[in-house]
Structures are given as C-alpha cells and as structure tokens.
C-alpha cells in the first residue's frame, strides 16, 4: 500500500517541475530548492506567514504543507504573482506605500493581501493574523493594502527631503531581492556545500567531561565534528564594537564549560541538514553539573557560583559582577534634604528578543586562491572580518565579509554568532559551509535585551522642581558579557541627562547569570531606565499634585543646560538642535484633540492617559567611524560605496538622497553598494543610531568632495569661472554651456582626470534627539484587557531626509515598544530553559495589537548631523512602554512597575470601578 512519491510534478509560477521531494519535506524548502527563492523562512512553524504561497489558488503557509501534497498542483509564489516591470496590483501598492522595511516578511504579506476578499480587507486585524512584521508596526502595511500612495517622484535637485521609494523596492515586492540564504542550488561557489548544525547544552551550568562522537562520526554523510578540543583556544566577545576592549573576551568558539542552556557544545558539518541534525543526536555528552544562578542579586552574593574565572585580564571585576559603574554630580543627600516630596520605587523590565524575521545565518567558502568569503546577516561586517582574523590568525586580506539584503537587525546582528563556526568548518574541510539559525535558536541561543531592575529615588520641591535623582540599576547580562558594560553605561546616561537637576547619582551593576546572554537591542540600556524614570516622574507628579506635562516641562533639559548625567568629565555631546519642547506641545495638543477611538462602552472600562519622554545622544560614546567612496562612471551615473549595512533601516535610500542633494541630481542617478569589506570602505557597523549621523555624514562629505572635483574639472574643461559652474541633474552648467556628465567623463578620462572621491566620518561631536510618546487607553477592570485608543508620538530627529521612511522607522519603534510593554516576555523555567522559544508562544505584536499612531516631527535642522538630520530609528521605542504604564496607572489608580503588563500579571491588583 506504500506510495513512494518518487516523482512529484507540479507547477511553480507556471513552470512545470518534475522532482521528488524528500519524504518529510515541507513545501517551503521544496519550492526553494526548485529556485523559488522569494519564499522566506521566518519561523518555519506556521506563525509568521513569510512563506505564504498559493496552492491551487488558496493561500497557505508553505512551511506547514507536506511537499507531496503539491503533486499535480499549481503553486504561485511572489515571483509568479508579478514581475519587475509587470507588477501585480498588490505589489505596486506595497511599493507605493512602502509597506515594508527590511522586506523579509513582504513576500508572504503580499501573497496574503492579494488573496483577501473585500470582507477580509475590511478586517485586517483578523485577515493578517498569520503575517508578522517586525519593522513597520503595520501602519504602512495597512496603507499599502488600502492603496494609498505615499511615495513621491524622484526629481533632480529635490531628492533629499522627498519620500522616495526604496531603490530595491521593486526587487523586494517581487521576491527578487536576495537575502543571506537566497542562493540557488547551482551557484558555483556552493559546489559541495556542507550544512552545519550545533548540539546545544542541556544544562545551565556544567563542565563537559567527555564527548563521545563515535556513533556520530560513523553516520554516512558526516564530514566533520568539532568540539572544544578542536578550536583555537582564543578568547573573544561575540559583541561587535569599534573598540574591542569595551566587551569582555569571555567566549571561546566552543568551550568545555557551558554557562547557559542552549550554549554550543559541538558543531557537526554534513552533506545535508538532516544528517547534521541526526549526528548531533548521536553525540553523547557527559556533563559535570555545576551549580547555576539566574537572579543577578543572588549572583552578586559572595557564595554564588562564579561563571567566569578569567584571571588578571578582567581587572576590576569581582565574582559575577562583570561591570560596575558609579557616578554622582552635586550631592543627592543634599538634594533629598531639600525636597518637599520624595518618591522611591523599584521598576523592572523584561528580557525580550529582537525577532528580526530573518534569523541569523551565514555561508562561508574559500576561493581558489584560498581567500575566505563570508556571506552573512550582520549589522557589522567589518568588525566580523576583524574578529574572524583574530580567531583564526588570518591577515585581513584573507577574509572577505559581506551582506546581501539583511532581514532586520534591531541590534541582534551586532553580534558574531554564526560566522565563526562556518569559517572554522570551511577552513577544516575546504568546502563551503552554511549555517542558518532556527527560530527556536533565536530564543535559546542568540541574544536578548538585558533585563534590568532599577531602583529610582526622586526628590522635588512643592512646585515640582527636581532636587535629586538617584538610580541603582542591576542588569542581568546572562552567561556572557557582550554589550553589558555599554548598555549599563547607556542605562545611566540619556535617561538621567534628560532632566536638569543639580544632584544626580547612579550605581550600576552588570551581572553574569546562567541565562541566555544579553546583547544590543534598539534602545540599548537607555530604554530600561527610561521606563523606570518616566514612571517615577509620573508618580512624583501625582504625589505633588503637579500635572504630568508640567513636571516634565519644568525639569526637562533645554538649550543652555549642561548635558550631563552623573559624570562630570568633559563630553562631546552638544545641542546640534533642540525640539523637545515642540515634541511635548505636539503630543499634548494631539492628546487633547479628542481624536482616536472612544472609550468602550460600559463601566468596566477605565480610561487613562500617559506620556513619557526620552533623550538620545546620537551615536555611541565609543568610537565609531565610517567611510564612503563615490565616482562618476562613463554613462554619467554615479557609483556610491558605503560600508554601512542596510537591514531595513532605510540607509540605502537615505544615503542616496544625501548624495543626490549635494550633487543636485535625482537619487535614481546613483547606484549604491554597501556592507562589503571588499567593495566598500570601512564602517564600524550600523548600530547605535549611526546610519545617518556617521555613515550618512561620510556620504555627505564624499558627495561634496566629488562635487568639487566635478565642478573644478568642468571649469577647467569649459574655461568658465568655477563660480558660475553648477551641477544640474545629469549635466554641469558652466555659465551658458551645458555639459552632460557622460561627456564630461569622456573628456576628463581622456586627460587622465579621475572623477572620484573618498571621505571618512568620525562620530564627534554628537548631537541630541528627542522623542515623546503619548497614549490614551482603556483598561477593563475585570479582564485586564488594555486597549490603546489613541497613540501619538513627537519626534525631534532634525531634518527628514525621507519623511515616509522616518515615519516608518517611528511606527516600527512604537510597535516594538508596544510589544515590550504589553505582549512579549521570555519565560525561563527553574533550570534556566526558555519555556516559550517560538513565535506561537512568544507573542510579538501582530496587526491587531498595534493601533496606528499619529507622528509629529519637530521642525528642527541640526547643525551637527549631515544636512540637518539626526538619528531616527532607535530612540522612538524608549518612551512607549512608560507612556503605556503611566496611562494604565492613570486609568486604574494602580502602578504596575514590572514589564510586561499582560492581563494575567495585572488583573489581581485592579481595584473595583472608581
């Protein structure tokens, strides 16, 4: 009775396919093997919808469909829906409204949207239940499906400041854009491709006594197995920064001590993923179990088990305290003595995961000359290159690291967590090696936002003037200390700087525990303390009977103030512009407008309003630099190479716009490549709000230099005065004479002139940006359901290089902030295992969870940032959670100080109706 589906024949996008899927294969991987690379893997479990295709006209999640079920069927993927130049209506709509950022969810989003009937389109919260987007906050998705056209035309001389489309948008909406894992099977560099899988620790803290690999090695198809005995015994940090000293070298590629459940124990490379997985199951590991500690306060006690014994290299650290930061300006003792009211409370924030839709992954291979190439999903390819050189004792020229399109980052890819093993394996075997994280591994073995517990004490006089601010932050960095020091410093920085107060004090501790490590995450430590302080300011205001806007306006930083947290050393932060006052006014008037949804009927619903503000120093205090190169090419177009990564932040769009402004051309005249250690100049990485203020600055300097080059040569070429020469679109106007750039190029080249420029930018001084979030919401006093009725946001991000994109970044940050506040929480069991490592059980906001927000931009033009712009993508998340918490407190009269504010965590404390 057995039917071997030896040959499946189906049609994929109208093309007949005769191939046999593997017996347990799902349709997603089968279709990708057949070259349909537009289909993406977000979760591989049916939760995210990135793999949506139509099977015989019905939309399905192809990761859940057994491949054999497509036999005789007709499959339509994003690539069959429409083509570049011949877009399907829904693809065009997503392009016109830019209903995407990183674009990784887009194929599935469009395949779903294009299948909706009218009733479903009228009820997107239901219809898009099965499509998760981490970037957009869904507003742009709704715009796209509704057919609104947000994008503007690209006009020479007006490119900067216009809502231009993403230059790769058409490729994204048609599924032609290539992400890290989108390599066709016949790609020559992948001949002999091996697949890597990792066996992960089953204990939170243990020493590996022995690994028996006999049975695993005997499995046909296994090519190599690596354990701690097979790797260079060289310490490093997976975190990426320009300054390698800011993160502790506390990791080995593979270690003989595991410090969290999920840590790498062994890596297997094999002819297929299936064999590699099977071999992992055949490895027998003997552990000597060590005592584990999960609570950072417990981990600080003298009797706690110590995770790292790193010897004298870690001068200053003691026990599990990796980093300790203290500071005081003025005297908080005096400040509290002078206060009429003091408020003190402990607040805490939760561990959350970035959930970029594209999981971590990389592919490494060697070319004939022996050079190693690494194609990776990274926010910092140049630092990855340096770290690989360090680990494998290779010269920089021997390693090439690059990205294709990156499917989201949010700080999660400011980390080297796959490249090292792929390179190790490719060096050992001589063959290409690919490793792609599963969604489960993202939760159990990547990084998270640092969980922080913050004691805040505020003092103020009767009129609401702050007399003292004191905080104590304990950050749980988990098993490894990457980003622990920097996030701790950030947690004691901006949130305290935002308020002018003569007396401030902070104590911070970043503590090792046996949990999955913390890492960089949008908001980077600042989010956590902003939550605590903004909640505390509200509580203080209530105590004093001062309005929430009043207390903030009275105390918030303003031009002329010294920009200072708790350290009095000189700082390179300056007011390049100031728009916090406008943000406050905009949010206040929007909340007062009465717009938004009405309170639901019934006395069980309680209504409240909350606000919070946040301040960002645009760029990290650590070193950060970026370079760009630009040249005119023979057809009169420009070529721009910039090192920074595009992962949905929009930098390839905005960088072209910055260059276009300086060259008086359309953005479309500029071709761009980025994030490639061979083809672009050095860039520290796209993180810490540097995509505009550092990489954008490099682009601006480079374009300006190229303009001078062009005009100088044009003046020489035509004999016109330099002063009467100017660029206009694809030509130079030299007085009355118009010389096309292609013509200029030909003339110059003939004379040996080179039309090119290269500049570098270094981040100093740094300017400041501000965000204010306001929310009106309703809380059901019985079910504890929270409904956001009106969400408003004021952003002071300087000049808007691309308003549509700026708005999208802020919408996305708000959506992520709503997730942090209301839906997301990584739960660990008593043994340190993540209980909910899937998108089904760890709920990032879906369409229904994120109401549209009104976003108001302050009218500012920064004198430090490039062309008046400031950082935009990061800080908007910071005031969202405290604004929500403050609104819930306003509605219910009860303060909830610990994120997340899920109904089951708050219901018991809700009182009866007031």
């Amino acid at each position: 009775m057995n039917h071997d589906p030896a040959i499946t024949s189906c049609s994929i996008d109208g093309r007949a396919v005769f191939a046999a899927p593997k017996l347990g294969q799902c349709l997603r991987t089968f279709l990708r093997e057949q070259g349909a690379l537009g289909i993406k893997k977000g979760c591989d479990a049916g939760d995210c919808g990135a793999c949506t295709v139509w099977l015989d006209g019905e939309p399905v999640h192809s990761c859940l469909v057994p491949a054999f079920r497509a036999t005789g069927g007709e499959v339509t993927t994003i690539e069959g829906l429409g083509q570049p130049g011949a877009l399907h209506e829904m693809q065009r709509r997503f392009l016109d409204a830019q209903g995407f950022q990183c674009g990784f969810c887009t194929a599935g989003m469009i395949m779903t949207a294009a299948a909706l009937d009218e009733a479903q389109r009228a009820d997107l919260p239901h219809a898009l239940k099965g499509n998760l987007c981490r970037c957009t906050g869904y507003r742009a998705v709704a715009d796209a499906i509704g057919g609104s056209v947000e994008a503007q035309e690209d006009v020479a001389g007006q490119a900067c400041g216009a809502s231009l489309r993403n230059p790769f948008g058409e490729a994204i909406v048609t599924g032609h854009a290539r992400y890290t894992m989108d390599l066709s099977a016949d790609e020559p560099t992948l001949e002999g491709l091996l697949h890597l899988k990792v066996l992960r620790a089953e204990h939170a803290h243990a020493r590996i006594a022995r690994i028996d690999r006999t049975r695993a090695e005997a499995l046909p198809g296994v090519v190599a197995i690596f354990t701690w005995e097979d790797v260079p015994r060289r310490l490093y940090s997976t975190a990426t920064h320009e300054d390698h000293l800011v993160d502790p070298d506390d990791s080995y590629i593979l270690d003989n001590v595991v410090r969290f459940r999920g840590q790498r124990v062994a890596a297997v490379v094999a002819e297929s993923e299936a064999i590699a997985e099977a071999a992992c199951r055949l490895l027998v590991v003997e552990y000597e179990i060590l005592p584990a500690v999960f609570d950072p306060e417990a981990a600080m006690r003298p009797d706690a088990p110590v995770l790292h014994d790193k010897g004298p290299a870690t001068l200053g650290s003691r026990g599990n305290i990796y980093a300790e930061i203290h500071g005081e300006v003025g005297s908080v003792a005096d400040g509290f003595a002078a206060a009429d009211a003091v408020h003190e409370r402990t607040y805490s924030t939760s561990r959350v995961q970035h959930v970029h839709l594209e999981t971590h992954g990389s592919i490494a291979w060697r070319d004939e000359a022996g050079r190693v190439h690494v194609r990776t999903s990274s926010q910092a390819p140049f630092i990855v290159q340096q770290k690989l050189c360090h680990l494998f004792a290779l010269p920089a020229r021997a390693v090439h690291v690059f990205t294709e399109r990156v499917g989201g980052g949010f700080g999660g890819k400011q980390e080297m967590i796959t490249e090292d093993l792929c390179v190790l394996a490719t060096l050992a075997t001589g063959r290409p090696v690919k490793w792609e994280y599963t969604r489960q591994e993202q939760f159990t073995a990547a990084t998270t936002r640092h969980q922080m517990t913050t004691r805040v004490k505020l003092g103020a006089t009767r009129d609401g003037t702050l007399t003292a601010i004191e905080v104590r932050v304990v950050s749980n960095t988990g098993a490894y200390g990457g980003h622990a020091g920097e996030t701790l410093a950030a947690s004691l920085g901006g949130p305290l700087t935002a308020y002018r107060c003569a007396n401030k004090k902070a104590d911070g501790y970043a503590v090792y525990t046996n949990l999955v490590p913390g890492g960089g995450f949008r908001g980077y430590g600042s989010s956590q303390t902003t939550f605590a302080i903004e909640c505390a300011i509200d509580e203080l205001a209530i105590k004093l009977g001062v309005h929430k806007f009043t207390i903030r306006r009275k105390n918030m930083i303003r031009p002329g103030d010294w920009i200072e947290s708790v350290w009095s050393d000189p700082s390179d932060v300056d007011f390049g512009s100031y728009g916090l006052d406008q943000c406050m006014d905009n949010v206040e008037s929007a909340l007062a407008s009465g717009r938004g949804a009405a309170k639901p009927a019934g006395e069980a619903w309680l209504e409240g309003t909350g606000i919070a503000l946040a301040m960002l120093e645009c760029g990290p205090p650590t070193e950060h630099r970026s370079g760009a190169e630009m040249r005119l090419v023979s057809d009169g177009r420009y070529h721009l190479a910039v090192g920074s990564t595009e992962m949905g932040n929009g930098s390839v769009t905005s960088h072209r716009q910055i260059a276009a402004e300086l060259l008086d051309c359309a953005a479309g005249q500029i071709d761009i490549i980025n994030a490639d250690t061979d083809r672009a100049p050095y860039d520290t990485g796209t993180f810490a709000s540097t995509g505009t203020v550092v990489a954008g600055q490099a682009v601006a300097l480079t374009a300006a230099a190229l303009r001078e080059n062009l005009l100088g040569y044009a003046s020489h070429h035509t004999g016109a005065e330099r002063a009467v020469c100017r660029l206009e679109s694809d030509a130079v106007l030299c007085g009355d004479r118009r010389v096309r750039l292609a013509e200029l190029y030909a003339a110059g080249s003939a004379e040996g002139h080179r039309f090119e420029a290269k500049r570098k930018a270094y981040l100093s001084p740094r300017t400041v940006a501000f965000n204010v979030h306001g929310v009106r919401l309703a809380v059901h006093r019985v079910t504890a359901e929270v409904r956001i009725l009106h969400s408003v946001h004021g952003a002071d991000i300087g000049r808007l290089i691309n308003p549509m994109q700026c708005r999208g970044q802020i919408d996305g940050a708000i959506g992520m902030g709503i997730g942090w506040a209301l839906t997301e929480n990584m739960i660990h069991d008593d043994g340190g295992a993540v209980v909910n490592p899937s998108l089904r059980n760890y709920r990032i906001p879906a369409f229904a969870d994120v109401p549209p927000s009104e976003v108001y931009f302050a009218d500012t033009h920064d004198r430090i940032g490039p062309l008046g712009a400031k950082s935009q993508g990061e800080c908007a998340i910071n005031p969202v959670a405290p604004a929500i918490a403050n609104a819930i407190a306003d509605a219910t009269g009860v303060r909830f100080a610990h994120l997340p504010l899920t109904p089951d965590r708050i219901f018991a404390d809700l009182g009866p109706a007031r």
Partner: protein
C-alpha cells in the same frame, strides 16, 4: 519545517490497510502541527488524505464532521435555520491563534487530537455535546464524548494508532441558544479562556469551560442557575484543572472563567427573543 527523520510515507486508501502500529508512526492530517515542530521520534507518516472521509454530513440527527474536515469548511458551513448554535462555528474558528491560511489545511480532527487546552474545535464540539467515533487499530469502533476525549494538556484517550474518525454533533444541541466568551493576553491571540453556554428549551444550561482548564470542564444545570449557584459551581472546579502557561496564569484563567460564566448565565437567562 522539514521532518528530517521521515523514512516512509504511506498513503493508504483505507484505514484498515494499516494493520500494525509501532512507535515512530504518525497519522498525517493537515500537517499544521506535525510540520510546525521538530519530530525526531517519527519515521513514518501515514497520510489520511486518501481516505476520502466526507467533511460535513447533515442529517436529521445532526451534523457529522469528518476528522479530516478542514477548519475552513467548518467556517463556511451554513446549516439549517433552526440550528441556533451555528454562530459558534465562526466564533470558534476565529478563536484560533492561527490565521485563515492555516484553516485551509488544518483539520477539525487534528485540533481535537492535539488536545491542547486552547483548541477551539474542542471547545466547539464539546459545548455542542459532540461524540467522537474512534477507530482502534484492532476491534470495533467506539464512541466517546468530546469532553471525555481530551484527558489533559496534550493528552487524550486515543490508544496507539487509534484514529479519530468523526465527531457527531446532535441536532438537539445544535438547536440550542448559545453564548460565547473568549479572552486572550494579546488581541486575537491564543485563548486564555473560552467559555460557551448553551440553553435548552426546558431552561437547562450547559456551560463548557476550555482553555482556562487543562481539559474541557462542563457544568450542567437542569434549570437556569442564579448568580451564586453559578459562581459556586465554577469555584468548585478542582484547583488542578486550572491551567497556567505562557498564554495566561492559572489564577487569571480561573478569574476569567468566573467572570465569563456569569456573563453567559446572564445572557442566556433572558428569554429568547
């Protein structure tokens, strides 16, 4: 996701042809759960797709739902006008965390056999007093009430290799007036509590509590209970039944159940229009 350990795919045209059963076998219906998690213990999939079980059969006795009936078919089902409980079909489909695209593949029987506390097809068929017809690998078919079919979180009464063939909803239950309440920690998310009340012509009330409890809990009242009686009955549910997980703590779910039970009671207490 790919199930890498599958070595054999069997596609029988009659269930009887699978006569022996061993560990490593799994029946494959829609596949929406099987393919959503690694299944390293499985080596053989036995496809139910070729068995040709009818999806929905209406008779004077009621509605028989084939185990392989897709959720989307149930969602689209329009039955006789006197089946007042039919709005529950859509309400329960909408209570899935999964989207309508999953409904295109997922089956009603699959949801029962998963036996998760929050399985909305369990809520629906238990509340409508459904009976499961089970086909053991050997021996005669047997019938089990849906409410007894699910034995706990991810546990049911199926023996090794035993098949859920169909679920029969009696017309008497389908004719009842019904009230539905549901809550989730996130909007349109997985149920933290899903309660259904049905009222018969004689004024009796059947309250079915799911999602909040590890298996369906049914409270039957021969006459419409008062506030205190309802509350007392819910409070009497054994502590161990309240099921806490990442979709809601046990205490919260119990709290919701008490609240929704009263809302349902109050709604159904009012004489039908």
């Amino acid at each position: 996701m790919d199930l890498h350990t599958i070595r054999e795919l069997r596609r029988p045209i009659s269930a009887g042809s699978i006569d022996e059963w061993r560990g490593g076998y799994a029946w494959l219906a829609g596949g929406t759960w099987l393919f959503s998690e690694p299944q390293p213990a499985l080596d053989t999939l036995i496809d139910l797709g070729g068995l040709g079980w009818p999806a929905l059969e209406v008779s004077a006795d009621g509605l028989t739902i084939g185990a392989t009936c897709r959720v989307v078919d149930l969602h689209r089902f329009a039955g006789p006008a006197e089946w007042h409980a039919l709005p529950l079909f859509r309400a329960c489909c909408d209570a899935f965390l999964a989207s309508f695209k999953i409904w295109n593949a997922a089956t009603v029987g699959g949801n029962l056999c998963m036996s998760l506390p929050a399985g909305p097809m369990i809520s629906l068929t238990a509340a409508l007093e459904g009976f499961c017809t089970l086909w053991p690998r050997h021996g005669a078919p047997r019938e089990v009430p849906v409410a007894d079919f699910v034995a706990g979180n991810h546990a049911n009464v199926l023996g090794a290799g035993e098949l859920l063939r169909s679920i029969h909803l009696p017309a008497s239950a389908l004719r009842k007036r019904a009230a539905f309440r549901h809550a989730s920690l996130t909007k349109l998310g997985r149920s933290a509590a899903l309660l259904i009340g049905t009222r018969d012509a004689e004024g009796g009330l059947l309250l079915t509590i799911t999602a909040a409890t590890d298996r369906p809990v049914q409270l039957r009242f021969n006459a419409m209970p008062g506030v205190a009686e309802m509350r007392g009955a819910v409070e009497c549910i054994a502590e161990a039944r309240w099921f806490g997980d990442e979709h809601g703590s046990a205490a919260y779910k119990r709290h919701l159940a008490l609240h929704f039970a009263e809302e349902i009671r109050a709604e159904l207490e009012v004489a039908s229009p």
